[in-house]
Every structure is written in C-alpha cells, then in structure tokens.
Symmetry: D2
Subunit: 343 residues, 4 copies
C-alpha cells in the first residue's frame, strides 16, 4: 500500500484501551504521516482517549467509541487490532474484504491452522487469510511486509528470542535441536487485566518460572526458526515473570555446529544486523541491559561463546519492539514511510 | 479470659486466605501458648493452608475449610475474624453468645453506630455488641483489653496516626483542630483482591493520593483523638498509595498550643512510650525508616518541632502492627500471655 | 536571543554524564532547531556519549570530552550547565563574558547571596550575575525568560511545589503563613552517585522523611512565593524518599483566607493555567497520578477543599519538568522556538 | 563441638555491619542456645548494633566494636566471619589455633588452592586449613559438619544451584557435561556497598546478565558436582541481576542419561530431600515462587521433564539459606542444637 500524494493515511485502532493499544495511540499521535480517525474498545462510557490515559491529553482528543466495525471501516484505511487472541480472527476478514490493511497484534494469524488450534484451544474461524498473512518481523520478512495487506505482528517473547537466534541459524552454525530460551518478562507482558496473580502485592519482590514448555509462544518461536532452518527445531522455552513493568530479557543457549570464538560470532551478529534500524549488537564482550531499550523500539543483543555453546542475550521493550512499536514499524514499511518515523 | 492451667488455648481464624489471615496464621503457628484448630475461608477447594501459602509448609498443615460457624464454634475458644467490613457483624454475635472471645479485624465494631452507618453506607446489624467492644490499641486501652470478650482491632492507618498523635494530645500541647495526617501506604493495605488499579503494572513506579477526606479511616482517627482529648477534633487525612508491599509511613502535622522545643517534645514521646514493648521513639533529631519496622510489630516514631508546629513521623508494618500483629498482641493481653509472645 | 534565519543553534552540555545531562542530550538529539556541538563531563575516557548511555546510539554520536571551557566556548552559543551546586558559579561567568547564553541547572543563581550562602554553606563567587539571572519558571516569568542570558533553572521540589501554590496565592486566597509541602520523590532526584543510602537494597521497599525543614529547596520555595505574595511566607517543607525512579508528588496544604468551595478553587487553577502548554489541571474531584507525567514535561494538578483548608496535589517528572525538560522549555522560550519543541 | 551442660554457647560475629552480618545477629538474638558476646566490624564509631540496624533495638544491645581479634578470642567460643573474600583467611587461623570454631561465610575455604588462586586472583595465605575445612552444605555433608572446627559456608548461587542439581546426579541420571545454570539474583547478593551500578536508579526496573562464565561461583558449583559425580563436570553459569532485594531463582537445564518422565523425576527429588528440614520439593507439575522462601531458610524446588532434558527450578533467600541462615544451620549441627533452632 502506498499513501497518496499530499494525503495523510487515516488509521484506526480497535482495542485502544489496553497497554498495547495505549502505546499504539501514543506513537501514532506523534507520527507525521498518519491521522488517527478511529478508536474503539470495550469501554463503559465513550470518552476522549485522554480521559482513559491522561498523558495523552493535548496530544490526541479523539473519543474512544464502543466497537462498531461498520463505522470504523468507513473512517480509516488501515487498522491496528490490539485485541485478545481469538477475537481478531472475527474482525479482520471484514476489514480485509473492504480493501483495508490490517495489522493484527494478536496471535490469530501467526501460526498454521493446526498449530494454532492445538495451542490456543479453539477452532480457527478465518483459515483463508492465514495463508495471506505475513509474519511481521522486519529483520526477516521486510520484502513481504512491503506488499502485505494483513500483518501477523509477532509476539513479545518470539521477537526477543528470534532476533537472538536467527543470525546463528542463518550462518549454519546453530544445532537447532539444542535451543534453550530462558526468558524473563516484566508484568505488562500479561496485558491489562485484573487478576490476583498480577496484583502488585504478588508480583513485587517476587519471581517465578511459569508454563514451562506449555506457553503458546513456544510454537511461534519454533515456526520462525523452521522458516529459516528449513527443518523443525527442538526448542525449550522457559518464561519467567520478574518484578518490573516493561521489557523482556532473553538468555538463549545454543550448541555450535563447529568450533568458533567470541570475535567471529560477534561479527556474524554485527554483520547480520548492520543495516537494521532497530537492532544493536553490543561490541564483543558487552552485554545488554534492559534499561537501554525501555521506551524504545530497539532490540539490543550481546553474544558469548563458551566451549561448544553460544549464549546470546537480547533485550526488548515488550510493548514496543515486542508489540506496538513493531506494529508501527510494519505500518511504516507497508506504507512507504521512513521505517523509524514516530519511533 | 485466662487460659487454663496446663492448657493450650484453641484458636480459630475465619477468613484465613487473605493477607491478614495469612499473617495471623503464620504468627500463631509459632506461638507457644495456642493451638490453631480452625481455619475457614471462602475457598474453592478445602486444602491444607500450606497449599495456599507454601511458606507455611511444615509449620502448620491444618485444612482451610469453607465457612461453617457451627463447626468452628465447637472447636475453638477464641476467634480472629479477618473478614471484610460488614461481614464480621453477622458472625461475631454467634461466637459471643457461645461465650467465645472474638478479635475482629474489620471496622464493624470500631465506630459508634451513627458514624459507622454514615461512613460504611450500610445498616449495622449488631448494635448491642458495639458498646461492649474494646478498641484494641494496647498503648491506650490495655486495661480494658485485659477484660474484653470482643476486640475491635484498629485499622492500619488509624494505628500509625494515633500512635503519632496521642502523646502530644495527652500532654495538652496539641491544637486538635489543626491535625493533618499525610499517610503513605504500600499495596497490601488494600487487601488481596483482583483489581486493575492494584495490578503491578499500575502501582509499580507510580504514586497517588486518593479518597482525600473521604477515607473511612478518617472518622476512626478522629474517634481515638476524641477519646483522649474529650472533644471532637478536626482532622485532615490524605492517604497515598506508594509502590511497595508492606508498611505505612504517616507524616503528622499539628499546631502547638504553646511554644516548646525539639528536646522537650522528644522527651514527651519517649516518656509516654517508655514501657511499651512495641513502640520505639527515635532519639531527638532521628527519623524512622519503614525498613526498620517491616516484618515486625513495632511502631517507630520521630519528632520535629518547627516554629509553631510539630511534625511527627511514624512507621508501621500495616499487616502486623496495623492488623495481624496487633491482633495477636491483643490476644496475648486478653489471655495473660507475655505481650510479645509470637511477635 | 534569536536564532538566525536558516541557522541552527549550536548548543553545549557541560556535565553530560549525570541523569540530568543524559536527559538534556536525549531531548536535544531530537530537537529540530539545535545542533549539539559540545559535550563535556568528568569522565575517565573520552568516548562517544552513546557508549555511556547506550540508548543514545544512532541518535547522537558526539564524543563526551573532559572539561575544557575554552574549547567549549569556541563551539557553541548556548550552554546547559548540568553541574553540582557550587561548581556552576565558577563556570557561568566565563561563558557569559563571551556573550554566550547559559541555562544553569544548579542552585547557584536561584537565591539571593545571603540565602545562598546560608543554605549551601559556601561563599558565592559570582554575585554580580545573580541579579541578572532569571528564575526559569515559565508559568511565572515567561516574559523575563525571553530576554534572559542567564537562566537559573528551578529545582525539582520547588517546581512541583510552586506550580501547586502559585494560583491560590495570586488569587489572594492563601494564608502564606500556613503552607505545608509534603513532597515524595523518587531516587533519581538525588542524582547519579554511589552512596549506600541510595543503593537499591536500601531504597527498595523502603520509605523515609529526611532533612525536615533543613532541605536547601525550602528557601527556594519561599523565594518564589515571596515574589508573588510580596511578603515573606512561612513554609514547612518535608521531603520523603519513595522507592521509584522518576517523579515527585507534592501534597500541599494551605489555609484559605476566606471560605470557598471545590468548584471555585478548581476553576481558579484551570483559569490560571489555561494557556500553559505543560500544566494540566484535573477536573474537579480528580487527582493526578505520577504515571501520567512520567517521561513528559507536564505538571498535573488536582485540588480539594476541606473546611478552611485547600489541598493541592501536583505531579512532575523530576528529570524533565523538574530539570532537563524545563531547561529545554526555557531555551525554547529564549530562542524563539515553539515552546514544546523537542518535549 | 558440644556445648557444655547448663552452658549457653558464646558466639561472636566478625563483620557484623554488612547484610549477612545483620542477618546472623538477628537470628542469633532469638536463638535459645547461644549468647552473642562479640560484635566487630570496620565502623566509624563503636555504637550499639541497634543504632546501626534499628530493627534490632530491644533485641540485642551489644556494642559493635572495631576489629580486635585478641579481645574477640577471649570472649567467645565460636565465630562467624561475615567478611569479604581474601580477608577471612587472615583471621580464621588465629581463632582455630586457640581452639575456637569458625564458620566462614567468605569463599576463602571453599575451593582447592589452585582454583581459589585462579578465580580470586590472590595467593592463599592459609593453605593448611583449606583441607580441614568442611563445605557447609548440610544436605550433602551433614556428618562431616558435625565434627568440623572450620566450616566453609557455601556461596549463595552455589547453594541454589547445587540443591537443584545434586539429586539428579546422585541418581546417575544427569549428563554432567550439559549443565546450564541460569540464575536470577536480587541486589543484596552483591553485599552492602556504595557503587553506582548497585544504586536504586540503576537497578530498579532494569535487568541484565553479567560475568557470563566468569563468575567466581562457577568453580564452586563445579566443585560440588565433582564431589558427588566423581568426575569434572562442564557447567555453564549465567548470573542475572533482577530488581528485587532478596532471593535467587535458579533455572537449571540438564540432559538426561536415559529417558524418564515427570513423575519419576519428581519422586527422585522428593525422596532425596524427604528428611531435610529446609528443602521442600513441590508436587509434580508445581513450580516454586521466590516469595515462598523469602525471609526463611528454605529452598523450594520444582521439576519438569521435556524431551531429553530436565529443568529444575530452585528458590532460596540469598541472605538466609544462601548465607546467614545456612551458617546458623551449620552451627546448630556442629553444636548439637536442633537443626532448625532460631531459623
């Protein structure tokens, strides 16, 4: 999709009241190429979005309406769906049929039908569009994203893990049957919901592993690796909840296919990402800190060789590179904006 | 109530699954004079309490049952009610009629009928017992507590505020129409519930004032002051939520009735509390930190004179001196145990 | 100072390695009207600033040099001094003599000589320039700022307090002898230093009041009030350290000169700030949360009347509206940029 | 060592002013079998320990003196050395020569001479006593601890890792060349020091991996495994700093020597620890949370099999089971107290 001469792109956000929706709106409000014309969410009262998120006051004063897809379709050309899994697939087809572009931040279009139904426990309602969807990881699929009408925006854990894994697999150096992803996420990763296990008093000063090998992001990580390795990998994925708000630090362990050293591995990563606007590889010996990527769309990466293993540490802000930021990055690519516009 | 020769007191906890209940059970499990024989709460499954709170494993393995007051009454002689406001008043009368002792941690027996109904918005269902209830602040009412059958255990904010205010009022030095309580509380003060405003992502790194002059602990603070001043005071109470788990720091401002100095005021506080096992007054010039009282039943206090005003800072652990610890302190006084047993 | 046609303003930051310096550089890097040409700080090695603050990588790659004022003066026209108190006054005169503009973020030019020497405990070395300095609170002194060559950028606590106090004093409704400022600050307020009392293990989950009536921001708050009230006020100032990174919430208590109500007071604040780009007054009944201003240059304010008192709550990000953001706002005003450029 | 009839054991703490010293003193103050007679540390002024740690007021009021080993030796029979690495080895020999018992919490007696000198970068000054030292992990070496005069109290990371690894190695099921320890520690693990990297503003909301494969606890973990496996293992150790105060969560990955399942592995762990007073193995499917062990001497463990790998998660409080608590547990074993006395 190309925006017209002199025109500003009209965009809508469906699901604007969650953490991800909030971030998308915040970015778009400062984006020079678009105009937000639709905000919808399940809200009690239809009030300006700045009443829900006071930091938006003076930046955007559009009213956040209750869901009405017909009206939405009349008012915008591209839609971000910041909706729970299993909801997007009921909504995307309508927009697509009208020729709109859709960037879906749920998991509904990321996996094949079979995997999806196995891991999400529901029947998929829009199988035709799964095949048309492009997995929105620009570092791997930029060319396809340019031409896409439907983007399956990657999950937060898969983004951090994939960016740490891809270069070594591409270089043919990773034994893809030995990949361990030990990921640590802040609390916004779980979304904006009322649940005792997410209450401050439970999360603060606490830490735990959860859903070992049962987390729905595991098949997504495997799917990305398979696309580049050409064969099904064996991934162990252990997510942890840590007491902070934003960010994921992933520590990835991979067996090397042949001996090498720190300098060479670091160079492979530097080369792979050298033109990427949002991936920074630390100098050899350096390790990233979450702080350096929070509130940004960057992924910072450090590498370390120890014996036959490579350890790669990646950091992202789960709400930006892991969700809203990457979604806007995808929009920028789709629509011909500068890739870092607004980011 | 006196515990029998050679006997161990049998106690029950109704509402054992909240933060306060958890703390009471933890303290009682290590108390040498009592045996916990009843644990009840609204739970999905009746499991050992150590399945709900794993840190209790090996310390107490009693099953936490669904509420059944008849059975409870058959098995214990003293009950802690760690229940929401408006629930206790339906439950306490039954236990009292059977001759049991009750320590109620809700607000149901703290205020007069009129004040209660005004601030809690419900009709009081057990007015006869309100008059028999003793307000369980040992530093003021120890003698009455000794003989009580029903204790209205003080609220967390009122405990911190009252201990900061009382000595100056008792000394006739406070203008009770000028009292400001600026209180900062951690998140467990709100109890164990699922609510977005209490979720980690909302509370972490955040801070806010709330319910200015509308918090139901305001009349409780006034009530305590009135009891010692003999007249109705004018209290401004501003509670704040701060991003930590346990504790309340109260900064209290009072106009002096006559000029004085730091040394004299500090001495008044030291004298007032010198025999108290759980109140420590800092040396003149010293200010308390929350850290020094967390996980203890202590209240630490610092004083400072500036012009015509006194500033008093008090720190308590809201779950201990502000709830469960004070409740056990009251039990110890009622039952003739050493006042600091288990604490 | 007016920037020339077609020109970009060349600016320098002296003291670029602290928290405040970091924020200034971050803002300036995205500012469309300036070019950062000088970065200096006491650093061990002269490396690109993005090696010190990795999040700046790709945004600015200027080397942060060791202090050399002569070289600095040759390369820029306006300087931000993000230096400790007592250091700025040795450095500003040189720049001023060369005709440069200076925005000093230390306290060196905020107070009169006598007050300064009393509260900071050192002799002032640049008394002539004190009188020329303009106190950089745009909401009060915008017109003077426009023509200033030397800005005394306000302290963080005074900014939050003053914005909460000014409208009531201006309206003639505040008894300026009754002002209490109970302020709660995050840890970055203390700057970037190694001190046990600022270590994570001491600050986390902790809270304390400190320097009651002895904090050097007390005379600064009084000075601002005196400027608008025309007489010396009596201010009680109690700062607290709370366990979060960024932000100050100030709860201000003032006696009213005459009876009024919530609606009127709220309207007075709304009217006073209605044209201000960086102050938002909540609707009557609303209270600000720190979250809504973090990472922004905004000050959010809520008001509440109770009996004869007004309570005003203000929130700012101490590093932005309380330091770097306000400094850039001042530069924008001095240099004729849009006041919110870069902010 | 057996405490005498009717006697109470006299103990001293050298290095009482750090986090570990603080915890030891706190535990000993409530221990029924000992009397603390010596407190020494590098302090500016010799004041009661409760002036340094206000929460100890009323519990112990011994003065904390400047170091004087001669005086110390005259006043106690058993010493805890809560000292930095490389200091203990200068102090322990003196006490041992006088027949005192020593529990050293530094690393000075944990490793062989060669390993020690390699990892700690200094010459060992007391090699004769290295061989006499018993590694104080009760779950492995209880019988030797009973007879020991010198205990090398384990490091915090090695305690958490070893307790997770040992049962599988003992069962002959672990390929000891495939062990990965991904450990996440709170900030008190670094001790009580002033360092910018440990300041609140740097640690809060942040996270990072550090010293990958270069941490001095790596050889200690290997040493423990070698003692039970009979051969040198290959351990990858990646420590992380997370924003909380107390606790280490270790996620350990090990390849299985033969296929098995969740039930069997969980049973192996349950059997191995069934008599241990301070290790709790979660039921199959369960995972520990840090919260459940904080402020206790417990280690909680969960197990999970996935394909050919076992994942074991362990949680400890780094200051208790990882330091002071385990030290007192060792004293209890050495001196014939109940193993959980004071804990």
């Amino acid at each position: 999709m190309q925006k017209g001469e002199a025109d500003v792109l009209k965009v809508g956000v469906i699901g604007a009241s969650g953490y991800t929706g909030e971030e998308i709106v915040k970015i778009l409000a400062a984006h020079t190429g678009v105009k937000v014309t639709v905000l919808q969410a399940i809200v009690e009262n239809e009030v300006p979005i700045s009443k829900i998120f006071p930091h938006l006051e003076g930046k955007i004063d559009l009213v956040c309406k209750k869901p009405n897809l017909k009206k939405a379709g009349e008012s915008a050309d591209l839609f971000f769906l910041a909706l729970p899994h299993t909801v997007s697939m009921s909504i995307a087809p309508g927009f697509l049929k009208e020729g709109k572009s859709v960037i879906d931040l749920s998991a509904d279009y990321r996996l094949g039908v079979e995997e999806y139904e196995k891991w999400y426990g529901v029947k998929h309602k829009d199988t035709p569009n799964i095949k048309k969807a492009v997995y929105g990881l620009p570092e791997l699929f930029r060319d396809k994203i340019k031409k896409a009408k439907l983007i399956a925006n990657p999950g937060c854990y898969p983004t951090g893990a994939a960016l740490a894994i891809i270069p070594l697999v591409k270089a043919g150096l990773a034994d893809v049957n030995t990949i361990i992803v030990d990921a640590k996420s802040g609390a916004t990763g779980a979304g904006r919901k009322a649940h005792i296990s997410l209450s401050f008093s439970e999360v603060d000063e606490n830490m735990k592993a959860y859903k070992i090998d049962e987390h729905q992001h595991k098949p997504e990580i495997s799917m990305v690796i398979e696309k580049i390795a050409g064969k099904s990998p064996n991934v162990v994925f252990v997510p942890h909840l840590v007491p902070l708000n934003r960010g994921i630090l992933s520590t990835v362990y991979m067996d090397l296919e042949k001996e090498t050293n720190d300098v060479k591995i670091n160079q492979i990563y530097k080369d792979f990402y050298k033109k990427e606007p949002f991936v920074r590889v630390m100098d050899e010996g350096g390790l990233p800190a979450l702080r350096d990527v929070q509130y940004t769309n960057f992924c910072n990466i450090g590498t370390k060789v120890t014996g036959k293993k490579v350890i790669v540490v990646s950091c992202i802000d789960n709400l930006l590179k892991g969700a809203a930021g990457q979604a806007v990055q995808n929009m920028n690519i789709m629509c011909g904006f500068a890739e870092d516009e607004g980011l």
